[in-house]
């Protein structure tokens, strides 16, 4: 590192000095903390700067993508949680140090994700067989859409832990375990590409949060934690049902059991001809309901205020900052890609719910809350209404805005909850009526609160505005929302006013006006420790506010690909909607980078490898090598690039004689999909006359099977 | 010895069984309950032996009855032990007293 290189880091040094000098009287440790935060912020901006990439390009290629990074990210916290169980309960400082150590390592590891240019496909892919017979694998990968959420997790959980260690003195060991387990589970959910694995982490995530609310919670902690758990559990049960049906159909179509997202994406569920693609819609609703409950969307949001009011500060921060994002991220990744047809047609209705139920209704409820935490909880409902609107709009700008708004909401609401925690630790009450005129007693606290309020409202220059504006602009030009786009953009923009109304109302009640309550007279201002805990959020508010393109460029390719896929397979799904027995979207329909790691491809590759190896070791005398018993016999039939829909039965109007004859009569190409007999049906039974969608209505439903048909 | 048709025995066994069941359901004295059980078991044994007589190729029925007797003896012993300790606990043998399972 020659001098020149050192010189270019002068802005970071200056920022460090300014940061260190801000607090008037604080321990060196806290000054150092602030200095690091300031310096780090400037470093990230300089490091992520677009044109600086060229220089960094060379170094990155050398680093390459270490496949086990995501396993480390997910595994380390969980492993740490287990190890901590063996540490003695009394040595608080070692417990805390250990937790910080693990968080530090995982944060630095997550920074490695940012060094790799997030091009279109999957990065840091790592697959390992888990339950081969059921087609379940450990399939982790990260792409443009999930990288920032992973970094948000590794960025926010340590801060939440640091803040709650300040106030929680009882059962510290269990607290460390919960935090570590939570981080591991959430990271697992964000990077999982195998639906089973995703489901496992989705459920695992609830346990630590349930414990956290249940143990360190407020007065009605048990009721709130049970309500939180049951709400999410009810949703995820529906999700499991939808997934099972999807996997079963996939097996029906390809004969391969696979839970891999990249395989299930190709499945288009059976569309019952009487109702408009009935099972697809049910599948979509089943899967998305779990995510809507998690987001939370309008009718299912009542668990959030209760959970937040009773949760401890650290729990609240993590719940608001990261766990809610799993709902939106999962909708974007899984619901929109697995069920593009219904997602496309339901977009307008759901956007209406997001606006009326989320943005406007959430704001109104927030305005009338007496408890500051309930107010912030409802404000999260409003903010996430915006995020969901961005996703329903399905435009590149809208979706990028939605992802950015997820990160922004994580930062703004995380900071808000920590601020509420600060005042709660001093006054042990959250009723707004108890406060008044705090600005006089706690000026620094008031300033920080106002800065975060401005971010939450969406004043330009802070991060809130960028996300909201991109979403509103995205809604206006969105194609699935078609005629209603203008009206819905108008409704969303109204949300901007109501946000100001309820946030400023709260600020007014808390900080301004005369200092009436005697208890507030001699409250101590925010302590340096709490200030250091808050500073990363405050800094990120302005970093994202002023340099959003650093974040947006990394997610753009992935968002573009997914939106293109969503629009295209949405159209395809509509065309297949009427098929009686489900169908498989052809591989050519997907960009190759997207399907890279899918299980079916993997099996095919392994089968080919075995065959090659078999031919090579024992050159069998017979000319044509007997088809070696591939692990699943019907795999060969799979990747033939022919027309996706079952050619034999659908195309030929007249079903060939008897099921056994059909294989011969079918055109020589190995039909990609189910031969009309289909393994599922009893061979003896004559194939039911397939419904040819093209049959003119007047003509009787299907030509009669020749009398000799039934064997 | 083959004058008495087997159904007679079956009817007898049925009647005995019904009396035993009635006793078990209606009486409230624990001891009488146990005795009713013994009645029912005897009725069953009788049926077993009767049918065994109908198919005399093997002694299956009788051996089964034999085992039923063994079990009945064990059951009676344990039952009475329980009644004893219950009596020591609640000072009565009325079956209604043992309702700690109530809702």
């Amino acid at each position: 590192m020659n001098l020149a290189a050192l010189i270019q880091f002068w802005p970071a040094v200056v920022a460090g000095i300014v940061g260190a000098s801000i607090p008037r009287q604080a321990k060196v440790r806290h000054r150092l903390g602030l200095a690091c935060v300031a310096a780090f912020a400037v470093l990230t901006v300089m490091w992520l700067w677009p044109d600086a990439d060229a220089a960094k390009e060379a170094t990155d290629k050398a680093a390459g993508e270490w496949p086990y990074l995501l396993d480390l990210l997910v595994g380390l916290p969980i492993f740490g949680a287990v190890v901590i169980l063996f540490l003695p309960r009394q040595m608080l400082s070692t417990l805390r140090a250990f937790t910080y150590g693990i968080f530090g390592v995982s944060f630095l590891a997550s920074l490695w994700l940012l060094r790799v240019p997030m091009t279109e496909g999957w990065h840091f892919v790592h697959t390992k067989d888990w339950i081969p017979s059921a087609g379940i694998r450990w399939h982790v990968a990260v792409d443009g859409m999930s990288v920032w959420l992973v970094v948000l997790t590794t960025f926010t959980t340590p801060i939440a832990a640091f803040a709650s260690f300040g106030s929680v003195k009882t059962r510290v060991k269990e607290l460390c375990v919960s935090f570590l387990l939570m981080q591991g589970a959430m990271l697992g959910a964000f990077v999982a590409l195998d639906m089973f694995q995703f489901y496992v982490f989705w459920e695992l995530m609830l346990v630590p949060m349930f414990l956290m609310i249940g143990i360190w919670g407020g007065v009605e902690k048990i009721k709130a934690s049970v309500k939180f758990f049951l709400f999410t559990m009810a949703g995820s049960v529906l999700m499991l049902a939808a997934l099972l049906y999807l996997v079963w159909t996939h097996h029906e179509l390809t004969g391969v059991w696979s839970w891999d997202y990249l395989d299930l994406v190709r499945v288009v569920l059976r569309g019952d001809s009487t109702l408009s693609f009935h099972p697809q819609m049910l599948g979509f609703l089943g899967l998305s309901l779990a995510f809507f409950i998690k987001v939370p969307m309008f009718p299912f949001h009542t668990w959030l205020p209760d959970a937040h009011v009773q949760a401890p500060t650290g729990g609240s921060v993590v719940l608001a900052a990261i766990m809610l994002k799993l709902g939106t991220y999962a909708y974007m990744r899984f619901s929109m890609q697995l069920f593009p047809g219904p997602a496309h047609s339901m977009a307008a209705t759901l956007a209406g719910v997001a606006i009326m139920g989320g943005i406007i209704y959430g704001a109104f409820c927030a305005w009338k809350q007496g408890d500051i935490k309930r107010l912030v909880a409802y404000s999260s409902v409003a903010h996430l209404g915006f995020v969901m609107l961005g996703l329903f709009g399905a435009t590149t700008g809208g979706m990028q805005g939605a992802i950015l708004q997820m990160v922004n909401h994580g930062i703004a609401t995380g900071a808000l909850f920590m601020l509420v925690g600060v005042i709660y630790d001093r006054r042990h009450t959250r009723e707004l009526s108890e406060f008044g005129g705090l600005a006089k007693v706690m000026p620094v606290y008031a300033t920080l609160f106002i800065i975060v309020t401005m971010a939450s409202i969406g004043v330009p220059g802070t991060n809130g505005f960028v996300g909201e504006f991109m979403i509103i602009a995205g809604t206006f030009v969105s194609e699935p929302l078609s005629q209603l786009a203008g009206l819905q953009a108008f409704g969303a923009a109204l949300g901007v006013i109501f946000a100001a109304v309820y946030m400023l109302g709260a600020v007014q009640k808390m900080f301004f006006g005369p200092l009436t309550n005697p208890k507030n007279k001699h409250l101590s201002d925010i302590s340096p420790r709490e200030a250091v805990a808050l500073s990363p959020f405050i800094v990120m508010i302005f970093v994202i506010g002023l340099f959003p393109s650093l974040f947006l460029d990394r997610m753009k390719p992935a968002v573009d690909m997914n939106r293109e896929l969503f629009k295209e397979s949405g159209g395809q799904a509509l065309r297949f909607a009427k098929r009686a027995d489900g169908s498989l979207l052809d591989e050519s329909h997907f960009p190759p980078a997207f399907l890279a790691g899918s299980l079916v491809k993997d099996l095919a590759a392994r089968a080919a490898a075995d065959k090659a190896q078999a031919v090579e070791t024992a050159p069998a005398p017979s000319p044509a090598p007997a088809p070696t018993p591939a692990p699943t016999p019907n795999v060969q039939r799979l990747p033939a690039p022919t027309a996706a829909p079952p050619t034999a039965s659908a195309s030929v109007a007249i079903p060939p004689a008897g099921a056994s004859g059909s294989a011969a009569a079918a055109p020589p190409t190995a039909s990609a999909a189910v031969p009309p007999g289909g393994p599922g049906k009893a061979p003896g039974q004559p194939p039911p006359p397939p419904v040819s969608p093209k049959a003119p209505p007047a003509e009787p439903k299907a030509p009669p099977a020749p009398p000799g048909g039934a064997p | 010895m083959s004058a008495v048709p087997v159904p007679y025995f079956l009817v007898l066994a049925a009647v005995l069984f019904l009396i035993g069941a009635g006793g078990f359901l209606l009486r409230r004295n624990l001891l009488v309950l146990l005795m009713s059980i013994e009645l029912m078991l005897n009725a069953v044994n009788l049926t077993l032996v009767a049918f065994n007589r109908l198919h005399p190729q093997s002694h299956g029925g009788q051996i089964f009855a034999f085992f039923v007797v063994a079990v009945a003896a064990a059951e009676a012993a344990v039952g009475l032990a329980i009644v004893l300790s219950f009596f020591r606990l609640r000072n009565t043998v009325r079956a209604d007293e043992a309702n700690t399972l109530k809702n």
Partner: protein, 888 residues
């Protein structure tokens, strides 16, 4: 010198703009973070230095821009973010700043007047504890205003727009201990936010229609704004959902269509009304007087409120395309001018009078820009900044003097406690008088030139519509605006001089002036009614009076910057090129030029009449006619004094409505949604539990009894016979054969009979039964079953062979099977038979065509040649296969 600057700072990367912005930002940061530690002097120094530096840099920029008209300097910092355009292209929004003629002049005003006001407030706020906080906010405000003015695209301007709103929120609520003052700050921010909502919608629309947010691009592509937009009905969705009568009521005969320019114009004007306090959203400005006076001077006179006018001027290319929008701007401006002036009559608080006069003058500016005279509108902004700034600062020094003995905020601003200050505050009196003359529009001072130009252009000019279809205001509209403006001018002159006479002339009503007054040690402030004694009010210190003098001087000289009638308009050739494209479609007929002087005469006359009336009422008659008027029309006077009770109107209508909706929403959420989802489910589960628990009596015999009951139930089921049969209708359509197979059971015997044979048929062992149906024939079959305990059961099956759709037998439709009458049934049978025959022969034809290729395939197979899959569709006729769309 100019060339070195140009060479040093190239036009495209004009880093000087960065300097202009950076200085106040740095000042705000330093004062904010380290203010308390630096002490008052250091804070004063940083604040003044940063604004002074910024002013100098703005001066240089102005010179560079003015050197060659129509030029602009730009500085692009970095790509901020990008949104999706209509054709799904990426609309990049950069953090870019540029200064053309308009921005350069605004730069000078903001930094120049800002610097004077900073200087003034170092004196005014000297004794205030929040000294460093005040200057931090003030610098922040200047930074935000500069961003607004220098914004190259609307998004960056929006940063400034809301930044200014935020700064005014902080400054108005500066003394936050007082509940009312803090509430005033909140009100200002929320009302501004309503305006910002309009701006966001305008931006989104502009991205849609012109594909970019940069002012330059929007200007070039402004032709796209003429497309029609249907406002209502937005979608035909409501036809399907709502009942017919409601739907037809909602769909108007012809859908409401309006041009995009008008829609965007209205949204933009909503933003301007919010920021520049026009009719619907002006309510926050009078309350904003709760802030310190220099704040009112800077924000509510010189800079922030004029942002609305600047926006209309900047987006003139939108307004010019839609005369309707311009007329709305013009009319609202006129109405506001008159309305605010009327309120100012009855105000006793000096700052409230000035506040309403600001609202009124803003009305004038909007009349100016509304009638297409963007240059005149902006010129009035400049002159207004001078004299209104001076007026507010004079008011500040008067209040500063009054504070010496009257510490209550409201009383120290009440004109009834002032009077005769001429003798005590000579300098303030002189500057106040000069500014009053200027605002009254008496030549040759600044106010006259700008107001007169506006009234003339309102009277004369009209907009040439882009096409015939565009709505154009009636010809007399301009005249009507002119007269409204004229009356407003008269009122302005009257209430300004009313304030002047009440404050500076007559006897001093503040306290009994005692020459060498020494305050008693304790309780020196005993407020006996009128018995308050005190020293003569003293003039403000130098640091406060110097800005007054400068501003008064500017108010006097300023007029000649843009004096159109006498063609002395150096500022014109800086401003005109900016509006050059827009003013092409603004026509001032030749005949009107003749009217310039007479209209000017009318303007002067209005001013003089106003002043004379004020002099007569307040000086000659000592205010008697005012009091007489007040008593005679009691309720009307009180109405005007209470500002037409607009605040209360809003409070009881809009605000009350939103509170009500919010209340219902919160209650709905707690009781209904939470009630249904959480409590209802929990309740049902608990109820179910309670019911089940009752079943457990704990007594062993009861359990035994229930077991016996269970045995009996199962026994009964096993004992009862169940008659059931599987009906196979696969052959129904072709041959009419229906076969029924009965379900087997222990010791069952079966009996089949049709409706005609009687009960006596014996029970046999045949489990299946077949029947042949003719077309449209209906028959019922009975299945009887008897079991070992010779219990019998029977079940009826109705079989029917319908003409076309083989409905499942046994369902209700079966009764309607072939509901045709006999003749109809016959024809149906004929038709179905013909259809069947036709199908048979097509099948035969297909068989032949298929056989040919298969034979070929079979022969190839025999010869052991593995046939690779044939590319493309197989020869057999196949409907267009749903091949994959493939990635385009």
């Amino acid at each position: 010198m100019l060339s070195t600057i140009k060479q040093q700072f190239p036009a495209t990367n004009f880093a000087l703009l960065a300097l202009i912005l950076l200085m106040p930002a740095l000042g705000a940061l330093i004062n904010g973070l380290f203010g308390k530690r630096m002490g008052k002097d250091a804070v004063r120094l940083t604040a003044l230095a940063s604004i002074g530096g910024s002013f100098l840099a703005s001066l240089v920029t102005f010179i560079v821009v003015a050197s060659e008209p129509g030029s602009r300097v730009a500085w692009t910092a970095w790509r901020w973010f990008s949104v999706t355009g209509r054709m799904r292209q990426d609309v990049g929004i950069d953090l870019a700043f540029s200064a053309d003629g308009l921005s350069a002049t605004m730069l000078l005003i903001v930094t120049g007047v800002g610097f004077l006001i900073h200087l003034y407030s170092t004196g005014y706020m000297a004794k205030d504890k929040g000294f460093h906080r005040f200057f931090a906010y003030l610098n922040l405000f200047i930074f935000a205003m500069l961003t607004l003015v220098l914004g190259d695209n609307m998004a960056v301007m929006f940063i400034g727009w809301e930044g200014v709103g935020l700064a005014s929120y902080l400054l108005i609520g500066f003394w936050y201990e007082d509940e009312k003052k803090a509430a005033a700050g909140k009100k200002a921010f929320i009302v501004n936010r309503i305006g910002d909502f309009g701006l966001i919608m305008a931006m989104v629309l502009l991205v849609w229609y012109s594909g970019s947010l940069r002012f330059e691009d929007m200007q070039q592509r402004s032709s796209g704004l003429l497309t029609q937009v249907t406002l209502w009905p937005v979608t035909d969705l409501h036809q399907t959902i709502m009942p017919h009568w409601l739907a037809s009521a909602l769909t108007p005969a012809s859908p409401w269509r309006v041009s995009a320019a008008t829609l965007i114009g209205i949204f933009l004007f909503l933003g301007c009304a919010g920021k520049s306090a026009q009719i619907p959203l002006y309510v926050w400005l009078p309350d904003a007087m709760a802030g310190p006076t220099p704040v009112s001077a800077l924000i509510h006179a010189a800079t922030m409120v004029t942002a609305g006018v600047y926006l209309v001027a900047r987006t003139s290319f939108v307004f010019v395309l839609s005369p309707a929008a311009l007329t709305i701007v013009q009319t609202t401006g006129a109405l506001t001018a008159l309305f605010a002036a009327s309120i100012a009559f009855a105000q006793t608080d000096l700052k409230k009078v000035l506040a309403y006069s600001t609202v009124s003058q803003l009305g004038f500016m909007f009349i100016g820009v509304g009638s297409g005279a963007f240059g005149a509108g902006m010129f009035h902004v400049i002159t207004h900044a001078f004299f209104k700034g001076c007026l507010f600062l004079c008011a500040g020094s008067v209040i500063h003097a009054m504070h010496h003995r009257i510490h209550d905020d409201v009383a120290s601003q009440d004109m009834r406690n002032m009077g005769g200050l001429r003798r005590y505050l000579p300098l303030t009196h002189a500057t106040f008088l000069l500014s009053c003359i200027a605002i009254a529009g008496i030549p040759p001072l600044a106010g006259f030139w700008s107001k007169d130009e506006i009234l003339f252009r309102a009277f004369a000019s009209h907009i040439a519509p882009a096409s015939a279809a565009v709505w154009v205001p009636p010809a007399w509209w301009g005249k009507m605006i002119f007269f409204v403006g004229l009356t407003a001018a008269v009122c302005t002159a009257f209430y300004m001089f009313r304030a002047y006479f009440l404050t500076f002339w007559g006897e001093f009503r503040g306290w009994r002036v005692v020459a060498n007054f020494r305050p008693k040690k304790h309780g020196g402030h005993g407020h006996g009614a009128g018995a308050l004694a005190g020293p003569p009010p003293h003039e403000s210190p130098g640091v406060m009076t110097v800005p007054l003098v400068i501003l008064a001087g500017l108010a006097v000289v300023g007029g000649f910057l843009y004096a159109e009638p006498i063609h002395v308009a150096p500022l014109a050739h800086v401003l005109e090129p900016v509006f050059q494209k827009a003013s092409q479609s603004v026509i001032v007929p030749e005949a009107a030029h003749g009217l310039v002087w007479p209209l000017m005469g009318a303007g002067v006359l209005a001013g003089v009449v106003g002043v004379a009336a004020a002099y007569y009422v307040y000086q000659v008659r000592g205010g008697a006619p005012a009091r007489a008027f007040a008593t005679s029309t009691g309720w009307f006077y009180r109405l005007v004094r209470d500002k037409w009770r607009i605040d209360e109107l809003y409070q009881h209508t809009i605000v009350a409505a939103t509170h009500a909706v919010a209340e219902t929403a919160a209650a709905f959420d707690r009781w209904v949604i939470d009630g249904i989802i959480a409590r209802l489910t929990a309740g049902t589960v608990a109820l179910g539990g309670a019911l089940l628990r009752a079943a457990h009596t704990g007594r062993v015999q009861v359990y035994a009894a229930s077991m016996v009951a269970g045995v009996v139930g199962v026994g009964w089921f096993l004992v009862r016979p169940h008659a059931d049969a599987l009906v196979d209708t696969s052959g129904l359509r072709s041959s009419g054969r229906v076969s029924l197979t009965a379900a087997s059971g222990h010791g069952y015997s079966y009996r089949w009979r049709t409706q005609d044979d009687d009960e006596s048929v014996a029970y046999g062992n045949d489990k299946s039964y077949a029947v042949d149906l003719e077309l449209c024939e209906k028959r019922t079959v009975f299945l009887g079953v008897k079991n070992a305990f010779n219990q019998a059961a029977e079940r009826k099956y109705d079989l029917c062979r319908d003409a076309n759709v083989p409905r499942a037998p046994g369902s209700q439709e079966a009764a309607a099977c072939c509901s045709l009458d006999d003749a109809g049934r016959e024809t149906a049978r004929e038709w179905v038979r013909s259809k069947l025959k036709e199908l048979d022969d097509t099948q035969k034809r297909l068989e032949e065509t298929k056989r040919a290729p298969e034979g070929l395939l079979k022969s190839l197979e025999q010869r052991g040649i593995k046939v690779e899959q044939l590319p493309g569709p197989p020869p057999a006729p196949q409907p267009p296969s749903q091949g994959p769309g493939g990635r385009p």
